[in-house]
């Protein structure tokens, strides 16, 4: 299904709308992870609006592009984008984390558009690899996108998967790294250094595109470039700001896994108006 392409300006407006939804969902839920949801908002909003091939009326359409959120704690972002894409009504978003909701605290297949559960970090790149190999076996041309967190790269299984994606020449994989530089206990470089990220991925056989993950034009051209890469997987290393869009959350480690209070949410929504 061809998506209606949004202009850069429309994408910026859509991303702001998604950020508002994230804040509204989290304050209603009373718990959840704003920081990483907001840092990856521009990347995933653009992906669903202009890049991904899918049909919300037929979530299991065999030729759909696949998206998987390996850093599952940022599912408020995923849910908001899925709702905007038409997978379910926006009102459903406000059941996040509630008893009986289809919107679990971490991704679950009962949510339309969610292909696989996640929440235990380090498994999503392997899931993407499996989807990629299935395309290869079935001679299908769908692409596989997976969102990784930078703290998540400390899981050894990510590097097992990184090695294998290159070994099997999975050019249909585009990993998106939300490099916001923060994890629960502090700055990634203080907790367990990850740099140089680009050199690491290159040495594992990946095509690396490094961008500002809040610049819509850079985001769109990175997705375009990734489609042209043959014989190797691509990773977009998106330099982002944790909590992006809400001044008092930006770069603040404490907002990794704490929902805003009513007052904080009010201020945040004012900023995102």
């Amino acid at each position: 299904m061809a998506n209606k392409q949004l202009t850069t300006e429309e994408l910026v407006a859509r991303a702001k709308e998604v950020r508002r939804l994230i804040i509204q969902m989290l304050v209603r839920a009373g718990s959840g992870h704003p920081g990483g949801s907001l840092s990856a908002t521009d990347l995933i909003t653009a992906l669903y609006a202009n890049v991904l091939r899918f049909n919300p009326a037929d979530p299991q359409w065999p030729d759909r592009d696949r998206f998987h959120m390996s850093k599952g704690h940022c599912c408020p972002l995923w849910y908001a984008v899925l709702a905007k894409a038409g997978y379910f009504p926006v009102e459903k978003l406000f059941t996040l984390r509630q008893f009986g909701s289809m919107l679990q605290g971490h991704p679950d297949r009962k949510t339309p558009g969610v292909e696989s559960a996640s929440g235990s970090l380090g498994q999503g790149l392997s899931i993407a690899l499996g989807m990629s190999l299935a395309a290869k076996i079935d001679k299908k041309d769908y692409r596989v996108y997976v969102l990784l967190g930078d703290g998540e790269l400390q899981e050894g299984s990510i590097w097992e998967a990184a090695m294998a994606c290159a070994h099997f020449s999975c050019s249909n994989i585009c990993a998106i790294l939300d490099a916001n530089g923060c994890q629960i206990d502090g700055r990634c470089e203080d907790i367990m250094g990850l740099e140089p990220l680009a050199a690491k991925w290159q040495s594992f056989g990946w095509h690396v595109i490094e961008i500002n993950g809040h610049d819509m034009q850079q985001i769109l051209s990175a997705y375009d470039q990734a489609k042209t890469i043959k014989d190797k997987p691509t990773i977009i290393i998106a330099r982002t700001i944790k909590g992006k869009g809400v001044s008092f959350m930006e770069g603040v480690v404490g907002f990794h896994g704490r929902a805003p209070t009513e007052e904080e949410a009010r201020k945040a929504l004012e900023e995102l108006a």
Binding site: Q123, S126, I127, M131, S157
Partner: protein, 313 residues
Amino acid sequence: MAEQLYQRDVYGQALVKLGSLNKNIVVLDADLSSSTRTNLFAKQFPDRFFNFGVAEQNMMATAAGLASCGKTVFLSTFAVFAAGRAWDQIRVSLSYNNFNVKIVATHAGITVGPDGASHQALEDIALMRVLPNMNIIIPCDGPQTEDAVMAAADKPGPFYIRLGRSKVSTMDNKGEFKFGQAQLLTKGDDVTIVACGMMVTQAFGAVKNLASKGINARLINMHTIRPIDSEIILKAARETKLIIACEEHNIFGGLASSIDEIVAENFPVKVIRVGVRNRFGQSGEPEDLLKEYNLTSLDIEKAVLSNISKNKQ
């Protein structure tokens, strides 16, 4: 002398058969394909076989991705690495997702032999049994291994099939294999012996010896551990009042625990555990290890004789 087969040989051949019947079958291995015999499939269907190198966690979660696209995935490595190394991937990506992935773990139990403790999985049944959605089959011999593979291919959802390293004697006259339904191998009302895997052969030896002493033992091959056949266990509890549970596994968390849970809730009777008594294994030939860890026919016979009520002796 009964026919002796390697279960993994039968497994490899069954995969090739399945591969021809069903184009959706994909097979994965982690650098052990010559030991697990998935190399037979690899040779026939190279486009549907992937070797992950020494990286079990990646293999397990990749299987989930393949299954999400409609593939039926069989994957193999040694039981210690399958159930132990990649347990979180099994929990979140396979079991929670309820994906169609069949873990066929070889080299389980003490009879791995000379490789020693690190390679002797004595905890894997326990690790798999606590996962919702997981189905567990422990075939007792070569032919039953094919039955298990075919049953797993037929039924959607995650499976754990546990195979040994060494040859096992083929048990005759087991009757038809039905997933989730245990097999009654001998009739008897004095005591019930429930066994799984290669311990079925040991148990059968014990039954013969007991018969010569005038004790009629009922022998049950509990090839499916989950979902377990609680009906046959409760019938045995009511009719024989004593159950001996035999497994090549720690006495905690495996077959014996499964039986304990059912009888404790419904009809409490004595359940005696013949298994590895909370120890690690060690190097040695399988026969020597079976003796050291009290897993022989004689040990089963002793367990019966020392627990059966005097009036039955």
